[in-house]
Amino acid sequence: MKKETIIAIFLGLLFGGVVAVFISLKSKDIELSTNKVIAPPKENVLSPNLTGTEIQSLELSEPANNAIFDKDIIRFKGTAAKDSLIIIQSPIKDLTFKNIQEKFDLEFPLALGENSIKIVVYPKEKQFRPQEKFIKVYYIDSEL
């Protein structure tokens, strides 16, 4: 076999290999761009920093469960995860707000007699479960 023939075969194989690798990479890119990825968006994926971390749990310092008040307006004081959605519901009032800071302190009206109140905290990081508390407080007018 002539020397030129051997060089031509070698160059042919080399060029063919380069073209094959190029086509393979290109076809992978095309496939990724046309197919829909079935996975949650990047922002919803648990980031390495969040794994193992804990969020501020719902703590209610006021009012105490089964407390008796002689006023029809009380204050809800406590702490919950920052930027979470908090819902406080009773038969006479629904309160929805974003907990901008960890501490919250707000007014809440009471009905005469028994007040069943549910507090639910929906953390901003959706992978965390909502936190709930249920209390009963009583408004007994001092004139009674």
Binding site: I87, Q89, S90, T96, E114, K118, I140
Partner: protein, 232 residues
Amino acid sequence: MNKNIKNCFIVLLFYCLLASSIVTAQTPSNTTTASPAIVDKDIQQLKDKIANKVSEIRKQNNKAISGFVLKVDGNSMKLSNSGEVNQVKFDDTLTKVFKVLGTTKKEVKTGDIKKNDYVIISGVVAGNIITANVVLIDENFLVDSGKITEINKEAYNIKVLTSDKNTYGLDIETGTKQYMVNIKTLLKETVGFSKLKEGDTVHFVVKKTGTEKDNNYSAYKILVIPQEYFIK
């Protein structure tokens, strides 16, 4: 005669001394006794202190319980709340009974309390017995939340699964207040039944009468958090 004059003089002198000593004893001393105004103020302060202490002690011992009336007889009744039974005693002079009518109340008598009424009692608890100061006849509300698992558009009924794995059926009546949280502003807005979807989270309030079947209630009000809030 001289002796008589002398005796008279001695008697007169003795009488004068006796009279002056009585007057001296009756004259109040300005240096040792406080004025009536100061005494009144001190008494008032003492009264206030006692009243505050009594009020404090009453508050400490005052408790409130609630439940459905199982039995009423004369000066006592039995209440049941979530399986717990409490004995309530009425005091003829102390106990006041009111019927709550929305935001107002009407005074009634202990004889107006009937079986299956929902009552709230405020009074002093000793063991399992509470001596009632105030009895309020009211409605019993259930406040809870969960995920909508089923919507029946013909019957206007939704099924809700709560976090403690209870399933409630809620009838959405024309009088049911229906709200939804706006996921951008987080404020509540009034919505219609057609906006509810399976998978939405719902906070609800229902009136409990004790006669409901299959955990199905007429909804008093609902507040929906659309599922889009959790996937945005």
